[in-house]
């Protein structure tokens, strides 16, 4: 068959399946159309990408922050830009490309770390945003060091990498890229790179990190953001970021998005820094809800974190907040089947920052979490069903017991990937209404 006809057929088949999927309740249709397109035309990504876009794309990868950073980039590119949302395997990208009509002003795709080489070869993106590398789903992705080296294999087809200068695993592999732009944020996670990724020598951390063995060291940052959001480019002030989401990690995500868009489009980065913002997180991340069917109509704040680095970052936000604490853990394939990583999360520090010792452990692996929290000092209640756990939290919040008081009519929830998704999808049963201004979850 003529290659162009095959691509066209693949696209049509994908669109038909996407249309059909709309009539299946609870089915989001983000992956099936792409799977069909790739089955008909294995080179669908490169064929469709060459045809369907006026500009080259931006690819976002890394362990944490892919979905949120992609949302920042999309906010800068405009509402008609192509973008995937959370569905970051090749078929998720293919679904978006099939639906695109050829007049999109740009495209941004988040891509799972393990699929960067194959997707980058197909898309030949203008910019790769490389956020961070830490442990996540070791049962599937094997070891983080090998994964970082594999991402670098795609360097030949990528013009520019916008990368995190604080991450030794990225720096050790970035010299393969033709052009590297280094970005630095206010904080970092170092526990996955205590020995040098290049020579296994010892790494020392001060204001910058360095290997005592081979001399691998932190590159001078081209752009840097501090805790107040102030951005400097090699010492020159460029303005202040206000990304609309909490945490130092989101300041870094927003800055990397602005730099990537500046590189891909030629727009001045100073102007982009003033504009990079989202009204709320994607699919419930950093979301606030009112639970109207519960007697006390409490508010619920939902945080998603998938691995030790993500839990570390989110718990540092949650620790000081008033509210009934509820933590959810699953261990499905998408989460990683091994829950050992919860023992690397500093729940002892969380315990120290809370005004009350009580916590509810929930999700399919609540018992694993319960022992971890008991060891950290918490007074743990296990409720495996997340909806039932919410009911208990709502019943408890505002009340005082022997372990201390919990103020505010608020529940704080942090869950890992499938636990979080399950909770958000079940919120309707509790009459959840997203806070005004929040994006409605599709």
């Amino acid at each position: 068959m003529n290659p162009s006809l095959r691509t066209d057929l693949a696209r049509r088949a994908a669109l038909v399946s996407a249309l059909a999927a709309r009539f299946v309740p609870g089915f989001q249709g983000q992956t099936l159309p792409g799977r069909i397109a790739l089955a008909i035309d294995p080179d669908f990504l490169s064929h469709r990408h060459a045809k369907g876009l006026a500009t080259r794309s931006i690819v976002v990868t890394g362990t944490n922050g892919k979905t949120t950073t992609t949302a920042f980039v999309r906010a800068l590119l405009g509402p008609t830009a192509l973008a995937n949302r959370g569905s970051n395997l090749p078929w998720g990208v293919a679904t978006v490309l099939a639906k695109g009509d050829g007049h999109a002003p740009g495209a941004v795709f988040e891509v799972d770390e393990a699929y960067v080489p194959s997707v980058a070869t197909s898309l030949a993106p203008a910019v790769l945003v490389w956020l961070n590398m830490s442990r996540d789903q070791l049962d599937r992705n094997l070891e983080v060091r090998r994964l970082a080296a594999r991402i670098a294999e795609s360097a030949a087809v990528i013009e520019t990498v916008v990368a995190n200068a604080s991450d030794p695993l990225i720096v050790a592999n970035a010299n393969h890229f033709r052009r590297s732009i280094w970005v630095k944020g206010p904080e970092g996670w170092h526990q996955d790179a205590q020995s040098c990724p290049r020579c296994t020598g010892e790494l020392t951390y001060e204001s910058q990190w360095r290997c005592e063995g081979c001399g691998l060291s932190e590159p001078q940052a081209d752009y840097e953001v501090d805790e107040q959001g102030r951005v400097r480019a090699r010492g020159i002030s460029l303005g202040v970021l206000d990304p609309g989401l909490p945490g130092g990690f989101n300041l870094l995500n927003a800055l990397m998005a602005a730099v990537a868009v500046g590189e891909a489009t030629g727009r001045p980065i100073g102007e982009l820094i003033g504009r990079v913002s989202v009204s709320t997180g994607v699919d419930g991340r950093f979301g606030t809800w009112w639970l109207t069917k519960l007697a006390t109509t409490p508010s619920l704040v939902t945080y998603l974190a998938k691995n030790p680095a993500g839990w570390h970052a989110n718990l540092s936000l949650i620790g000081a907040l008033e509210g009934e604490l509820m933590l959810g853990l699953n261990a499905r394939v998408a989460d990683g089947r091994d829950t050992s990583w919860i023992w690397d999360v500093d729940f002892e520090a969380l315990y120290g920052s809370r005004s009350s010792a009580r916590v509810i452990a929930t999700g399919e692996r609540a018992t694993d979490l319960a022992l971890r929290l008991e060891v950290a000092g918490f007074d743990v209640t296990v409720v495996s069903s997340q909806v039932e756990a919410l009911r208990l939290a709502a019943h408890r919040q505002g009340s005082v017991d022997l372990t201390g008081s919990v103020g505010g009519n608020r529940i704080l929830y942090l869950g890992n990937y499938t636990a979080f998704r399950a909770l958000v999808s079940e919120l309707e049963t509790l009459g959840a209404i997203p806070e005004v201004g929040a994006e409605v979850v599709s």
């Binding site: 070791l138 049962d139 060091r145 296994t200 010892e202 319960a370 008991e374």
Partner: protein
Amino acid sequence: MSVKIVSIFPEVLGTYGDHGNARILAHLVRRSGEMPEVVTVSVNEAVPLDGDVYLLGGGEDGPQALAARRLREGSPLHQVVERGGAILAVCAGYQLLGRSFVAEGKTLPGLGLLPIESVPAPKRMVGEVLSEPLIGISQALMTGFENHGGMTILDDGAQPLARVRHGNGNGDDGYDGVIHASIIGTYLHGPVLARNPGLAQLLLARVGITVEPSAPHWKLHHERCQDQIASLWTSRHR
């Protein structure tokens, strides 16, 4: 009485949460009414000689090679074993206590404290393990999560830790781990002492601590065992 728990190089031998074993032992020592002291030794520090329990965990190839190099430079662990000090070694930490292991394609010398050699396995071994302990602990089954690219061969006559009922363990012999002198070696993460309170009791009994683990600790053990038995039963009767 204070119990000194020495966690060896957790920043390089802690990729799979094995530093949790130190947290669990400390928790159990507190439960027994005694005082735990957790000493975290980093790669550029000397391993203290006066510890009560020593812990080594799993790590990636490069960090494993670094850890073995540092421990060989002036291995205090030989003295620890001579005086009968308890050692729990998991995965990469287990391999590097043997005569040799392979990291990043190179065969490297281990500490020679265990009668084992580790070689690359044909296929990476990842998943839940269910086994029956071959030592007297207060549980009939053990569970854990394995994730390793090497397999371990025991010398003739060496005593394995457990008989594997599901999963791989050492890889080739149907067993997991080894018990030799005062050392317990295993491939199980989870961490292994979170999943197996009986093993934690055994380690602490060796330093004179008698303790009953908490109900949530036993509940986790039972729940994971039941999950494994259920999935074994399903796979055999499908």
